[in-house]
Amino acid sequence: MPKFTIDGKELEVAAGTTVIQAASAAGIDIPHFCWHPDLPVDGNCRMCLVEVEKAPKLQIACNTQVTEGMVVHTSSPKAAEAHRTTLELLLINHPIDCPVCDQAGECYLQDQYMDHGLHDAQVEIEHKVHKRKVANLGPIMLDAERCVLCSRCLRFEREVTGTNLLEFKNRGNRTEITTFDGGPITHEYAGNLADVCPVGALLSHDFRFKMRVWFLEQTESVCGGCSTGCNTWIDARDGEVQRIRPRRNVEVNKSWICDPGRMLYKQFHVPERLTGARAKRGANWEGVALEAAIDELAAKLGEAGSASAFVATPQASNEDLFAFKALAEAQGGQLDFRVGNPQDKLHVRIDEVLQRADRNPNTQGCIDLGMGKDGVDAILVACRAGAVKALVLQGPELLRAAEAADAIAKVPFVAVMATHEEPALALAHLVLPAALWVEADGTYTNYQRRVQRAKKAVPAPGDAKPRFELALGLLRRRGHALAVVSARDLFVTLAKSVPDYTNLDYKALGFGGRALATAPERAGASAPAGA
């Protein structure tokens, strides 16, 4: 554990830590372009030069390991001068078109340029080497002229996806970033290329020209796209999600997410979203106020008593599941979640990077909370036998299952919580509008058995409510009110009763989550994603 001094601060770091790692952990910003915490060090941009006492020349912070007693100055006159000149050299071949560049606000070059006050740079614009203009690479756009040749994108393609679709063409100051013959990027991780690019050379097609980034509000979240549970930022404006970005978590997704996960937001604000409750009157649907709909369901549950059944969804948060289970238990009805057996796919990878075959964020939470109790088949058997008078579905999965249709048809009252309109909802008698995971606070337990927190980023549309609120409303009406008001309270409550979750609370989880012990037979299968 070497101790060293950086800008007058004394720090102790693990052996092998580089100066830039130590600095960034201590909140000291060393300018850099090519270094990225989740890519191998390449040391090419020379932006991170720092003065190390007793060293004959400046050292790059990204490839210099801290040693005992080292004294580092990140902004001494010598270091500052090197930052200024290196930046100036970078700008010779970089168009200074910040006002029209989409990276503006997220561009290291722009930040550095401002920081270092290079307005009087000795750069003569007419001398710039001219390269090809913007190319369409499918999911992303490439503006080679803005590239600072930091090789982050190439290293991403080499080390993370192994796809090697990008290349540097030529050498020296004629070097240019491109793909072979201008071909498209064909893997499902293209969005990360735009993220790793420190300047506006690789841009998300999706976000191009949409909005200046400084209008966005960012919220910590967890992807709802599969059991990997990548940590994300939800960027929203005026209550509408504009994009999803990876949030770094070394244990889960490092700095990456997949494109399908990134694109999920496109389903958030669509006409198919359910914004109000409805009930079937004869052959027709009739819109009803949410409270009235909950009243109606509570009444049906009252009539059914234990002749009721509950099917949870692995899309739901732990808080949703807990409240739903409390309802099932209060009723004495049957309970399960395993429609389509998501638990069998929980650990199955569909590529070598991040994605998993179980497209639910919380199958492990269902397992941990004991949602798999009576078996979906047993519930269907009971339905067919006419023993179920009220069936409550936390999500529409069962309605989509063709083999369940005849059983469902036997149940006199089927209620479903759903987020989007879909034909299968026709089988239900009551539809309750549910919030999406970005519209509610909640925790999710990923395939590694890591409990992670997602924060409400935008309001749910219309009457839509988090599933736990719907369940709490039902419990209250059925005379089993839980003494909780928020998702946070619910988590505290559930932590008391769910094995291994004991002592967990939102504070303990933070926004990086907390890993629980995995069943020994799983130990091998739960290596961090992308490792």
Partner: protein, 609 residues
């Protein structure tokens, strides 16, 4: 596109030389280009499929190297070196002449499809400049008349008539013999006779002797060879490699080529014992791609050595196994830098790695690796044969052994001369009849680049220094690769700076910002000066750019690249200022700078005339 069966067989044979397929990329691309004339998209895709790479990976690598072409070329490719020494012998005029005669631009195919003319950087034929290659065959000391014959369809070839060294050279003892490349000639001179004995020595003993000999690396940095060898980790179970650096591309340097083309077995024998000394089994000789003849000669000699049992398994019954493989580059000065060379040998762009780790710990294929220059390695058998004390005594203190000195430019007898390290002063090397014999008639010495283009220039009053690493360091320059370039009073120092800066800009690998952008910027400013558009503040800017590069780059190329401008400005600033004042070169009004200044004093300037 597919390889012909013969080429496919050759490719399959080449593939066996490397533990990693990708290493075969440059040989495969050379084979493909030989067959197809150039590298089309389809060809890149074919090579990618053979090597299990993506086409982007192959193109990324291929486009780094200047020997690969991405459009059809003429049947005969005329390559003219226009680097400094050759340009002093009229190389630029050769290019202009040929292009004019063919009615083409440089790099463009002639209308009849017969010729393409291109400029190339130093070919390691500096004393034999102007150096030309026609489809890879030498045409040294090329004149306009020679070129006319080539353009008329004749096959004209000529090699430089290297002058021989006085006394009894040891490194060059065989080089000028008849049939010097054959194994018989080498054996007749005692070659391979002690190999069995040396292979029975313990590696540590050999390293100890090399340490005692004061042998220092001949590749440029002068690092003590024995010490470098002792950096190999003792407890690393991975294989180890010896890589011989035969990339010789530093302008002014043309010594390793003499060994490769004239005495290949001397190098092979040296590789065998050195590989053994490093407890390695495999040695790669990385030869720059432009050395077509050197590669051919070395490959033939390697085959002879295998056939004679000096290479392969259980050499001479000693139980020692050594393989030596010849690997050709494809045109990139930077591949001489040891980590860039390793990357290139692994089949990648020839760009250096950041250090640490150092190659002795993590080198070729991630294994401990020693990279040494051809001349350095060639010294090892001499140490074992004649003893480390003898070897050390050939040179000066801490600078052991015989040494090859290259001299080119405005001297009477350019050549590569052998003598004891530091046993000659720079002045003697230039003026002594045993060496270059003085400045060409009618001219005065103006500047000396003592050790290759990367070494700071010296003036005529700085020449009384021994030509060894320490002597030159004391004079504020470097011995480098001992490529001395002599510039007389007919030549503008702005032209010299521009020529060499063009070279560095052209050869910068582009990996790191200061060198990639700085070399281009300096070149633009120097060209501006030459076009008569320079301002005094540009001179200060040039100086500042040197500072922005100095000590801030990934590899020593950056410091090398600023040497011409920095030392030029330091020692010849008045010439630069003249360009600003008079909007262009003094060579337009006078034969020497002094004359030009005198005329300027009388009001005769370019601007005024």
């Amino acid at each position: 596109m597919e390889f012909t069966p013969e080429r496919k067989a050759k490719f399959d044979e080449i593939l066996k030389r490397y533990p990693v397929k990708r290493s075969a990329i440059l040989p495969a691309l050379h084979l493909a280009q030989e067959q197809e004339g150039w590298l089309s998209k389809e060809t890149i895709q074919y090579v990618a499929s053979l090597l299990e790479l993506t086409p982007a990976q192959v193109h990324d690598t291929a486009s780094y190297y200047v020997m690969f072409r991405f459009q059809p070329f003429g049947e005969r490719h005329i390559e003219v070196c226009t680097n400094l020494s050759c340009s002093l012998y009229g190389a630029d005029e050769l290019v202009e002449h040929a292009c004019k005669k063919l009615g083409v631009q440089e790099g463009e195919r002639s209308a009849d499809g017969k010729f393409t003319v291109t400029r190339v950087e130093c070919l390691a034929a500096c004393g034999g400049g102007a150096a030309v290659q026609v489809n890879g065959e030498w045409l040294e000391n090329c004149t306009i008349a020679d070129l006319d014959r080539v353009l008329a369809g004749e096959h004209v070839h000529r090699k430089f008539d290297w002058p021989q060294s006085a006394g009894t050279p040891v490194l060059l003892r065989n080089a000028f013999k008849k049939d010097s490349t054959s194994i018989e000639t080498f054996k007749a001179g005692g070659g391979y006779s002690k190999l069995g004995e040396w292979l029975k020595m313990s590696p540590d003993d050999i390293i100890e002797q090399v340490k005692k000999s004061n042998l220092r690396g001949r590749g440029g940095a002068g690092f003590p060879t024995g010490l470098k060898w002792s950096f190999l980790p003792k407890d690393n179970p991975k294989p180890r490699y010896l890589v011989v650096n035969a990339d010789e591309s530093e302008p002014g340097t043309y010594k390793d080529r003499l060994i490769l083309e004239n005495d290949p077995h001397q190098l092979i024998e040296a590789c065998i014992v050195s590989t053994h000394a490093l407890r390695s089994k495999t040695c790669y000789i990385y030869i720059r791609g432009e050395f077509w003849e050197g590669i051919r000669t070395m490959e033939r000699a390697v085959r002879e050595a295998y056939a004679a049992g000096y290479l392969g398994q259980n050499i001479l019954g000693t139980g020692i196994d050594v393989d030596v493989f010849v690997h050709g580059g494809a045109g990139a000065y930077e591949c001489g830098e040891e980590t860039a060379l390793i990357e290139s040998l692994e089949g990648k762009r020839g760009q250096p790695r950041i250090k640490p780790p150092f190659p002795a710990v993590v080198g070729l294929y991630g294994c401990p690796t020693i990279v040494n220059n051809v001349e350095t390695i060639s010294c090892v058998p001499l140490i074992l044969e004649r003893g480390p004390e003898w070897f050390a005594a050939q040179g000066t203190e801490k600078n052991g052994g015989p040494k090859l000195y290259c001299i080119s430019g405005h001297v009477k007898r350019p050549g590569t001369y052998e003598t004891g390290m530091g046993k000659v002063t720079l002045r003697e090397l230039i003026y002594d009849e045993k060496y270059a014999g003085g400045i060409r008639d009618g001219h005065k010495l103006k500047a000396v680049i003592p050790g290759g283009s990367s070494t700071p220039m010296l003036t005529p009053d700085e020449l009384d220094i021994p030509m060894d690493f320490d002597g030159l360091a004391k004079a504020g320059s470097m011995l480098g690769s001992a490529g001395t370039i002599i510039i007389d009073d007919s030549t503008s120092m702005v032209f010299v700076a521009r020529k060499l800066t063009y070279f560095y800009k052209h050869e910068s690998c582009g990996k790191c910002t200061p060198c990639r952008e700085g070399t281009g910027w300096m070149l633009r400013l120097l060209e501006k000066l030459e076009r008569g558009l320079g301002q005094m503040k540009d001179l200060d800017l040039l100086w500042k750019i040197c500072d922005s590069i100095s000590g801030k780059t990934v590899c020593p190329f950056g410091d090398a690249a600023i040497a011409p401008v920095q030392s030029g400005l330091k020692k010849f600033r008045p010439e630069f200022e003249y360009y600003v004042r008079n909007k262009g070169s003094w060579t337009r009004v006078a034969k020497t700078f002094e004359e030009a200044l005198a005329k300027e004093g009388q009001g005769q300037t370019v601007g005024a005339s």
